[in-house]
Symmetry: C2
Subunit: 145 residues, 2 copies
DNA sequence: TGCTTAAGGATAAACATTATTGAAAAGAAT
DNA sequence: ATTCTTTTCAATAATGTTTATCCTTAAGCA
């Protein structure tokens, strides 16, 4: 989670103005590990920023992604999710409760090289999504039987 | 690409009726490697099936996915893409021309095991997406400069 | 062939996301 | 500080994809 000063500098350097709304969207996103949707962030920010518009949340997220302070997740749901952790890590979604978690400590270098070699593409990015049942839902199911 | 008889049987076995529309959607999808959207399939089918509705294409695709004859791709675009090849393979999208290709001959078993171990999830599925510049666009760029 | 029920077609609706527009605020120069 | 220029905000309309509705039609089966 970056400091306000770093986020501000990053915005300015890329030609975007620094506004309270953009900083607030970044902070709300960076504070959580829940990979929220735009709508969720909007509702979360509303108490502190009663005049903030949903369109502003979308616009801010778009800019944050553009300047490398966030990434967009496309997990096959009806809406995108967002993550302020832009490090190269896969995501996993529970098909029971819908939660999305980070997958840590996975080295994707070898896989990427194999794909580049196999396809002839010059690769710039990737998104790895896994689906299954999370530990919590697994234990729930066991106790219910 | 499965035969009509096999598709019909699969539909019947899962309690779905066999209709010309569903067979046509499967055939159109299985014939191509372009990973089309619903809209694209709709336009492609229209000459042969003038009365087919776009809603029917969507419903057919949904059923095909449910019975394991197709899969839905969520590549971060504004619409889903579909693939009749349900084997476990990654996809790669060209950020210049937008084409989506299959990635073949990649073993994802080890990666999946690592993720399962790291997260504690019981994994059921995954989608691996790569992004970059395809060989055609790479050579185009080189000749232009 | 007729019966039952699911499926198709046409269309409206729902939903997420983007574009538009006038007012307000940010950043720079004075 | 003040003014000026330009971007951004908020509100709302618009867009485009996907889903639901509703009535008609066709599939499966006795």
């Amino acid at each position: 989670m970056l400091q306000v000063q770093e986020v501000s500098e990053r915005l300015r350097n890329r030609g975007f103005k620094v506004t309270p709304q953009r900083l607030a969207v970044y902070e709300a996103l960076a504070r959580t590990k829940a990979h929220p949707r735009a709508e969720t962030l909007y509702k979360e920010l509303r108490p502190s920023y009663p005049t903030m518009s949903l369109a502003t949340v979308y616009k801010s997220l778009s800019i944050l992604c553009e300047i490398g302070l966030a990434q967009e997740l496309s997990l096959g749901e009806d809406a995108f999710r967002y993550d302020a952790d832009t490090s190269d890590h896969p995501h996993v979604r529970c098909i029971k409760c819908g939660r999305v978690d980070d997958v840590e400590a996975i080295d994707t270098k070898e896989l990427t090289e194999e794909v580049a070699e196999s396809t002839g593409y010059r690769l710039t990015d990737h998104q790895l999504y896994f689906f299954g049942v999370c530990p919590e839902c697994r234990s729930k199911k066991r106790t219910l039987h």
